[in-house]
């Protein structure tokens, strides 16, 4: 019996262009269940676009996206969320007029079932768990100071963290994080790493776009590299910096090789 790898998320020959500009070209890779995978590449390589295609913000031009073996490419973003997919955004996209805890509670929406969940006041005993759970999750992230503050007024680093908490509230199987450490200081980045390790420990599969290579090395065992919309590396994180193709993508072609 050969061990069949347990694939949580799989891209198969995915392509996308905007107004004739090819942004993602025939990209295929697998994200194994329980693993922490990094998606890296120079600016404009197409990483955020891959997240948009997987989460359903945009439709693919070609290819399949498999979540637990089901092709989700034709499904609505909301349906994908209820199937266990969640994401954060590179440019923070919290709802500016909602309080911190309300933002986090929006993240729970994919878990609501039926009209009673939708139409009964959130302060009823049957609904109080939602807010309690949101507040507990904020506490776990050291964010309990601001539950009723409107997010528009909060500092960048805090809003960045709230986005991660919000994404977790759908209890996702696969979590996509787009540059979660951007703008965080060293201490906050270390905290984020511990928190994400903890999240992964609880069985959430992570796919992380990140520029901070020391965070990538300490968090992700597996790395996929994109350049100009194509996959140029797919292997262990430990060997990515020795890969000639990756070096060339980041540093430009070497003169002696020309």
């Amino acid at each position: 019996m050969s061990a069949v790898p347990d694939i949580a998320l799989s891209l198969r020959h995915v392509s996308k262009s905007f107004f004739g500009l090819q942004v993602v070209t025939d990209v295929s890779f697998d994200v194994l269940r329980g693993q922490r995978t990094a998606l890296i590449g120079p600016n404009g390589a197409g990483k955020t676009t891959v997240f948009n295609l997987v989460s359903g913000a945009f439709g693919v031009d070609q290819g399949e996206i498999l979540l637990d073996g089901t092709n989700i490419a034709p499904l609505s973003p909301g349906k994908r969320a209820t199937m266990g997919l969640a994401r954060s955004f590179q440019n923070i996209r919290l709802m500016p007029h909602l309080s911190v805890v309300e933002n986090v509670m929006v993240g729970q929406h994919a878990r609501t079932r039926g009209l009673m969940d939708l139409l009964t006041p959130l302060w009823l005993p049957r609904n109080r768990v939602w807010r309690e759970e949101a507040e507990a999750q904020l506490r776990a992230f050291g964010l309990e100071t601001y539950p009723n503050e409107v997010t528009a007024n909060l500092p960048y680093g805090i809003r960045k963290k709230i986005e991660v908490v919000r994404a977790l509230m759908s209890h996702p199987k696969v979590l996509l994080l787009d540059e979660p450490a951007a703008g965080l200081n060293t201490r906050e980045t270390a905290e984020l790493k511990d928190f994400l390790l903890d999240v992964a420990e609880r069985g959430v599969t992570l796919l992380v776009v990140e520029h901070d290579m020391s965070l990538v090395r300490s968090l992700c065992d597996h790395t996929v590299v994109l350049n100009f919309g194509r996959k140029i590396y797919d292997g262990p994180t430990a060997e990515v910096q020795n890969d000639p193709g990756v070096l060339e993508a980041y540093l430009g072609p070497r003169h002696d090789a020309a």
Binding site: S55, G56, A57, S76, P77, G78, A81, T82, R87, F89, R93, M95, P96, H97, L98, S99, E102, M105, V106, G107, H109, A110, T112, D117, L118, L119, T120, P121, L122, W123, N127, W130, N148, E149, V150, N153, R166, S170
Partner: protein, 296 residues
Amino acid sequence: MTGYLGGMLVILSLNIILAYAVFLPVATGQLNLGGAAFQAVGAYTAGILSAEYDAPVIVSLFAGAAVSGVISFVLALSILRTKGVYLVLATFAFAQFVSGVIINVDLLGGALGMNVPDHIDGPIIAVAAVVILLLVMLLMQARFGLAMRAIHDDDVVAGLMGIEVRITRVAAFTIGGVLAGIAGGLYAFYFNFIEVQSFDSLSSVYLLLFVLLGGTQTVWGPLVGAAFFTVVPELFRYVVAHLPVGHAASTGQLDTSWRFIILGAITVLMMVWRPEGVVTRTGLGRLLHRRVEKQA
């Protein structure tokens, strides 16, 4: 409760119901510039059923609300695809269409208007306004209200979080239509006469102003807006009538125009001073917070 104050209370109650009718779609980010037209649908449906078919008042009221709700639903399904200024234009066009129908259909009394003999008293309308206010508050405190506000802020992200953006918008627009229909029926039975001018586009503009100037971020905004725009013009009527600017002030014509000039100026000033409305979440939070501090 009769006379001037009673009449004021009725107008205030109707304006509150109408403000919430417009607030619900606006809270999901959809401007509705046809509020008075949905009121007209409710008023004429209830009026016809009562005056021509002898239907009981309560049946006529509910029928008016239902017809306005169904029309809102059908309209929302088709026009909520459009956004921003196009949606405003679409609701405005719908309002013009309704006016056109009323003027041209003999059964509806045309430009002459229509008598509605059955009557309901002011206090019933005040109770209806309170009940509707409470129901809207409960709805906004439910997850549905949270979803509406999330959509208002970022519909793409709301959709990615599993919120049914389109269904929520259509539902909010439809509930708004039902409320406007109820206000229309109440209007018809209180004043016992309806005519197309009572539901013109200026009324729709005012309704939207109630809501936008009151503030769309909290459920209190429309209440403040409706109260302000109902009471302040009346205060001006009183003040202007007693101003020593000559006898023209008491002839009525100048009186009305002055009131609207001052009201217009206040509107512009409020837009500059508080572009997000009088009642905002941060403002309300600060107010409540201060109160807590005082208690401590």
